[in-house]
């Protein structure tokens, strides 16, 4: 199947010589939710900006919905909705007007029923006659999303959609993203919140210093790089780690009451079974045990700080 977005050997060097993207290639399939992770200044926004037509690429090609973003910019851009990071709104406009404006700008004939649906879905209907400047930050964010959805795009870019947004709105937004995906919309989001990527994404791309260092299915990524931890709470404290366990990835807590065993989630069974058997043989008794899987955040920190 032809990818919905195809980025080939994309590079961008800004006028001041800063190389924001280095030979990035990436395919995103129709209907998937793709999360782009990376620290500040890694190139996430530049990548999105090029695809959406805000920044000129230095080299490489991009197609969106099968159309080259430069040669067939009309068809490509018509398929795309963009919610940028900054809250850039027309302060003096009314909500209804600014959302209708966006629909017209993207070449679609007026459709009040659709605008109403978008506004209702985003809980903006009651505010439709308010000027944008009278809205709270969270509401303005919703207006930006409504604008991006006004022309019924097949591809939606959300650049840091939940930055500075309260918990309720974040939940609402996740819900909305899921609904959009069910209707077949492809979603690309950048985020600092790993929780967000973990919660929503099908695939994850990690970008660092302008290079796409990893693109992986979320589940695969978690299992491939995920670490698991087994904590055993002991009946009686140990003074030191028994010599039989010294060559294993085990640590003893300072108070001697806890044994912490770290292992790759893929080879878990064998290691854990062996450990428990050894402890039984040594007569070390435990009253409780718990396992914990490392979060995407820990994986991510491990990746971007790895040189």
């Amino acid at each position: 199947m032809q990818p919905d977005i195809s980025v080939q050997n994309l590079s961008k060097t800004y006028g001041d010589g800063f190389q924001a993207l280095k030979n990035v290639s990436l395919d995103i399939q129709k209907g998937e939710i793709f999360a782009l992770l990376g620290p500040n200044g890694a190139g996430k926004t530049t990548l999105i900006s090029i695809i959406c037509g805000l920044v000129n690429p230095s080299s490489g090609t991009v197609t969106a919905a099968g159309h080259d973003i430069v040669r067939e910019f009309r068809a490509a851009r018509q398929a795309i909705g963009l919610v940028p990071q900054e809250l850039n709104t027309d302060s003096f406009e009314k909500v209804w007007n600014t959302v209708s404006f966006s629909r017209g700008l993207f070449g679609k004939p007026p459709n009040p029923a659709h605008i109403e649906k978008v506004l209702r879905d985003l809980s903006l209907w009651d505010k439709r006659n308010n000027r944008v400047m009278s809205l709270s930050g969270g509401m303005k964010r919703r207006v930006m999303i409504a604008k991006a959805l006004s022309h019924e795009p097949d591809i939606l870019f959300l650049d840091e959609p939940t930055a500075g947004v309260d918990v309720e709105l974040r939940r609402d937004m996740w819900e909305m993203v899921r609904k959009l995906r069910e209707s077949g919309v492809t979603i690309i989001l950048t985020t600092h919140y790993i929780e967000e990527a973990e919660e929503m994404a099908d695939r994850i791309g990690v970008i660092r210093n302008g290079e796409l260092i990893l693109v992986e299915d979320k589940a695969t990524l978690m299992s491939k790089l995920g670490r698991k931890e087994l904590r055993l709470h002991l009946q009686a404290p140990l003074e030191e780690l028994p010599p039989e366990l010294k060559d294993q990835p085990i640590e003893l807590s300072e108070d001697g009451y806890e044994l912490i065993y770290t292992f790759d989630s893929q080879q878990e069974q064998a290691g854990v079974a062996l450990l428990l058997r050894t402890l039984g043989e040594l007569g070390v008794e435990y009253r409780d045990l718990q396992t914990r899987e490392s979060s995407l955040e820990e994986i991510f920190v491990g990746l971007v700080h790895h040189d």
Binding site: N56, R77, L82, P84, D90, F101, G104, F106, G107
Partner: protein
């Protein structure tokens, strides 16, 4: 052609005019009325006719031009500068509109506003002085052509400006002196010979002269030359705008 896109920009810009009606319409009308009161009625009644036209009537085309140029430039420059300043320009840049369509939307709205204003001032002038328009079709054509040309020029300024003061500099420091020295209040025949020659380097002379010809059939410069000069300036602006969009100058890094 993205007609809905052009219409969206056009309507957005026109809505801005209605929102700021006082500023957009009232202030130029009031200031022009003052000119008519002072130069047309008060001082004009003591002045002799120029080229057989009463002084009050003689200055009408020049005063309309003054407002037309100032308003075209400030409307268009503000129209494109504001989205750049507030960041909402992202939407226009990411939309399926070509640069020609963007320009038609912004410049079309700016020119419409200035033409409406020009006509309002023309009607206001009637309250102070008597005049007739000899070539109405030419008069309207001149009005529209000048409004479009200077709105294009304003669009360029709006893209170039990186602060509010720069938006003001060109209309205030360049256009106002050129209009005042361009024969709004006098015929260039009245100047010493050397100044007559120097004046010919002032592009506004051609606009005012041509516009006055449309009113009264008399002009300092042949009407063909006037039209030619506007066309030259129009082309120059279009070439510059094409360059802006091709290179992404100050719009697209």
């Amino acid at each position: 052609m993205n007609l809905y896109g052009i219409l969206a920009i056009y309507k957005f810009e026109m809505a801005r005019m209605w929102r700021t009606l006082m500023q957009s319409v009232a202030s130029p009308v009031i200031s022009t009325s003052l000119y008519f009161v002072v130069f047309g009625s008060a001082i004009g009644s003591r002045m002799g006719d120029i080229d057989g036209i009463s002084y009050g009537a003689y200055i009408i085309p020049g005063l309309i031009m003054l407002t037309l140029l100032m308003q075209s430039i400030s409307n268009a420059s503000f129209g494109i500068y504001m989205p750049r300043f507030s960041g909402t320009i992202y939407e226009v840049l990411s939309a399926p509109v070509s640069y020609i369509e963007v320009v038609i939307g912004y410049v079309g709205a700016a020119a419409t506003k200035s033409v409406i204003l020009g006509l309002i001032i023309l009607a206001t002038a009637r309250l102070f002085v008597d005049y007739s328009v000899l070539h109405p079709v030419w008069m309207i054509s001149f009005l529209v052509l000048t409004a479009v040309t200077f709105s294009l020029f304003g669009f360029i300024i709006g893209v170039w400006a990186d602060g509010f003061e720069k938006l003001q500099i060109v209309p205030l420091m360049i256009v106002t002196p050129l209009v005042f020295l361009g024969g709004t209040f006098y015929s260039i025949d009245m100047l010493p010979e050397i100044w007559q020659t120097i004046t010919l380097f002032n592009p506004v002379v051609y606009l005012i002269s041509g516009f006055r010809w449309a009113f009264y059939g008399v002009s300092d410069i042949h009407i063909g030359i006037s039209v030619g000069m506007i066309m030259v300036f129009l082309t120059l602006c279009m070439v510059l705008i094409a360059w802006i969009f091709r290179t992404g100058y100050r719009l697209k890094p």
